[in-house]
Symmetry: C2
Subunit: 331 residues, 2 copies
């Protein structure tokens, strides 16, 4: 790789002049400039981003820590983040934790070592202390989807309203025995949906029908298992709410196997529509969150914080997006 020095030598000027010419950072005589450009081109010169970053103290890279990508909302969020970051001149570094606090910790420690200017995280909630340390050390941090720590800015959907709205929607459709398939209450999105569900159920004077399984929360099997549990426990079950699409698929599969018709006998709704629900044979009604836009906003907010002069760093802010009902065939 050719360096500034090589270009300088070929163009018969000092490296500082080359730097100025290439970065358009101060007047350089047009003729000199021309010579420099020619030399740079001839040598196929590309500036070394490491050296620039070291010198300028800015890496123009953000880190994104997610629990999983495949078949999750995170791949869509990540697309939004990457798109926006790229437009603002930032690269995106990803880390996949599989929701393992230990893996997450290692990822965060790598990222903080001068890898990135800021971090967007959908975390496990087990490394909040570390996250605060990282933030205190001057690296911007934003929580996305999962607000596990109040003292760090976040962008989330209104999970509680989402859970509650879904119950009311099903109630209006005539459902009286509504089951919930959800995930661990340690994670904000599941906790919120759980609370919204319970409050609405109580308000309407209905019975809570909860379920759980040993499968990973984010799995088809979990949905399948929980649906079977609900069907066994609640003879007159007439609706199933699934926290995420994949669980909904599992639930529909369980219903199909029992020859229970959707939506005539049991209605199904997903609380986190992300595109796949709309494509099913029996397309699935869902509460949709604007994932792509949330990703874009997260990148924007993070980079704003990174770019802010160090005196006036923005204070902690929490942004909540509404989810919108998309009615389809499963209800």
């Amino acid at each position: 790789m050719a360096t500034l020095k090589d270009v300088a030598r070929l163009a018969c000027v000092d490296v500082s002049t080359v730097s100025r010419a290439l970065n358009n950072t101060s007047y350089v005589h047009p003729d000199t400039k021309k010579r420099i450009y020619a030399a740079a081109k001839e040598l196929g010169y590309h500036p070394n981003a490491m050296a620039q970053a070291l010198r300028q103290g800015r890496r123009h890279t953000i880190g994104v820590v997610v629990p999983r990508l495949h078949l999750t909302i995170f791949s869509e969020l990540l697309q939004g983040i990457e798109e926006q970051a790229r437009q603002l001149g930032y690269a995106t570094l990803i880390c996949n934790t599989e929701d393992q606090p230990q893996t997450e910790k290692e990822c965060l420690n790598r990222l903080r070592n001068g890898f990135v200017d800021g971090i967007i995280i959908a975390g496990t909630g087990y490394n909040n202390r570390l996250l605060r340390d990282i933030q205190a050390s001057g690296i911007a941090v934003i929580q996305l989807i999962r607000r596990q720590e109040k003292r760090i800015s976040s962008i989330v959907a209104d999970y509680e309203a989402c859970g509650s709205d879904a119950v009311h929607f099903l109630y209006r459709k005539g459902c009286r025995e509504i089951g919930l398939i959800n995930g661990t209450l340690e994670l904000a999105p599941y906790k919120g949906r759980h609370d919204g569900y319970c409050k609405a159920i109580k308000k309407l004077g209905l019975a809570e029908n909860l379920s759980q399984s040993d499968y990973p929360v984010n799995s088809f099997e979990h949905g399948y298992e929980c649906a079977n549990q609900l069907l066994d426990d609640v003879p007159r079950l007439d609706a199933i709410m699934a926290a995420i699409d994949i669980q909904g698929l599992g639930a529909i599969r369980a219903l199909t196997e029992r020859k229970i018709r959707v939506p005539e006998e049991v209605k199904v709704i997903s609380l986190t529509g992300h595109a796949v629900g709309a494509m099913l044979e029996t397309s699935m009604t869902s509460m949709e969150m604007p994932a792509h836009e949330m990703g874009v906003r997260a990148a924007q907010m993070l980079i704003d914080a990174v770019d802010a002069p160090s005196g006036e760093k923005p204070s902690v802010q929490h942004l909540t997006f509404a989810t919108v009902l998309a009615e389809r065939e499963s209800t």
Copy 2:
């Protein structure tokens, strides 16, 4: 952020000693070591990765260029890549091109600027020259899924066998009018599946039933539109092969709307199963490629190339994975 210098000052030694102690790179007196560790801890010292990279000429980062993440096989590949890279001590930088050659070009130019040690790309095929330049400049490059350039190593599935095997499978099931939903022949995976399909069809003395639409190849709508086209054009259509799962979903939707039963009247098979097919109401038969493993192998191969002493860089190699039939309810 505390620097080596700060630690050195606090521990009353030279920076070089601190560096050696912290990196365990040569003998340092135990007492000194202890003092240094204590000082580093007290200051919350974290080495600056930029400076290390600049000094060592290695960034320990690989770049991954994909056309899309959400609801594609690429999110699964990326998970495999990230996992393996992380285990080998590498971070993963991603770029999302949306299959725009111009965006891809910009991404590649950013990556080559000292951002990464190597690049894994599922490319558009429009920047082959640039890719060769990048490779020539000392950055390892591997094509994944899409082999658009023979002179650069690649890891792909056997698309031709995949297309051909699917035809033979359907033939054995009694199908005689088999339609294909595919994508642009400019991309190797689609070209391969197309060729495999055509050869098998010819060999069996059947008629080719192709389709196309104006929608993005990687969309539900494309599958839906093409299926309708095939149904209109081929009265006795009894099977549909879809290049990818999402197209298959579109096809099933079209069939459902016309009240055509799957698989009794028309069978459906996806040529790139990636998890979602198995979860459907009518679970979809598909040719499965080991996406996660392919991602792992790609990361491995790339990092091997990066780590190879510069004298003995591995030569171009092409790895082809077999796809395996997973029979489900749609056939």
